[in-house]
């Protein structure tokens, strides 16, 4: 049972509890370095929602994104794998990906 004995001494050694590290002002340093008041989750949700609504209005009324989406889909339906339709849908996918990525990043990080 050498392996068992071998594991026993190794596990004893690994299990030796490390001495607790004294605080020595660490907590104070952390508290001093904390950022300002965290936005409430509800406030954050409202900001994201408002940003999404503004982005929709700007895209719809000023950039005519809806027309672009319709045209891209029409081209794709008429010629599914033509260079034009693939390019148009790729651009659309990139734009949508950026919007989704931006929203997720915004939600996860501090604003």
């Amino acid at each position: 049972m050498w392996a068992m004995n071998g594991n026993d001494w190794l596990e004893r050694k690994l299990h030796q509890a490390p001495a607790a590290i004294p605080d020595d002002g660490f907590t104070e340093r952390v508290m001093g370095a904390l950022p300002g008041r965290r936005p409430r989750a509800t406030l954050r949700s409202w900001i994201i929602l408002a940003a999404a609504v503004v982005a929709f209005l700007v895209g719809y009324f000023f950039l005519h994104v809806a027309d672009g989406v319709v045209i891209a889909l029409q081209v794709f339906l008429s010629e599914p794998f033509s260079p034009v339709s693939v390019t148009a849908l790729s651009i659309l996918a990139v734009v949508l990906g950026m919007v989704v990525w931006g929203t997720v990043a915004l939600a996860r990080d501090e604003m």
Binding site: G6, F26, P35, R108
Partner: protein, 186 residues
């Protein structure tokens, strides 16, 4: 109802107070309560470089504060903190890969022998730990020093539980090989 004093309140209550009321005293108690475990883990991951480990520990708690609303309570708060600490360690390691001292060199200039009860024993073990990969070392430390369960370690390291078991077995085998000439054949 008057909330209990921070020192006696459970983690979950301190987290709630910190989140809902931005209660700094509550978060301060969380830091005080968990600083030792987080700093000990990081010191061992950083091969005893206490200054770097403490910087990363501070970064860990700041990140935890920023993302406290993402803590779902699916694991212990300490497990969540270890995950942030491990990610901070990996990020720093990537960022400073060229300027970080080699593990053996870091051990030579190590100033804190007090990570284990017996300094000589601690240095031996720490030296042997440098032979492991970062994930093997983290898995061993989380399992034996921080006493986390395998599912908790899988959560910290963000890998399947089978991988955790393999890493611990492989790590122990390497440690046994490194330490056995001095310790094992008794």
């Amino acid at each position: 109802m008057v909330p209990p004093p921070a020192a006696t309140a459970p983690d979950s209550q301190l987290i709630a107070r910190s989140l809902l009321d931005d209660d700094r005293a509550a978060f301060s108690e969380l830091v005080r309560r968990h600083q030792s475990g987080v700093r000990a883990l990081l010191r061992r991951l950083c091969c005893g470089d206490a200054a770097l480990a403490d910087d990363l520990a501070q970064e860990t708690f700041i990140r935890a504060y920023r993302k406290l609303d993402l803590f779902r309570g699916e694991s212990r708060f300490s497990t969540w903190l270890y995950r942030i600490a491990y990610n901070a360690f990996l990020g720093e390691k990537r960022r400073l890969r060229s300027s970080l001292a080699a593990p053996e060199e870091a051990l030579e200039r190590r100033a804190d022998p007090g990570l284990t009860g017996d300094p000589a024993l601690g240095v031996d073990l720490d030296r042997a730990l440098t032979a492991l990969s970062e994930t093997e070392r983290a898995a061993i430390l989380l399992s034996y020093v921080q006493d986390l369960t395998h599912p908790e370690i899988a959560r910290v390291l963000d890998c399947p539980m089978g991988t955790v078991k393999t890493m611990i077995l492989r790590g122990k085998e390497k440690l046994r090989t490194r330490l056995s000439p001095a310790e094992g054949k008794v």
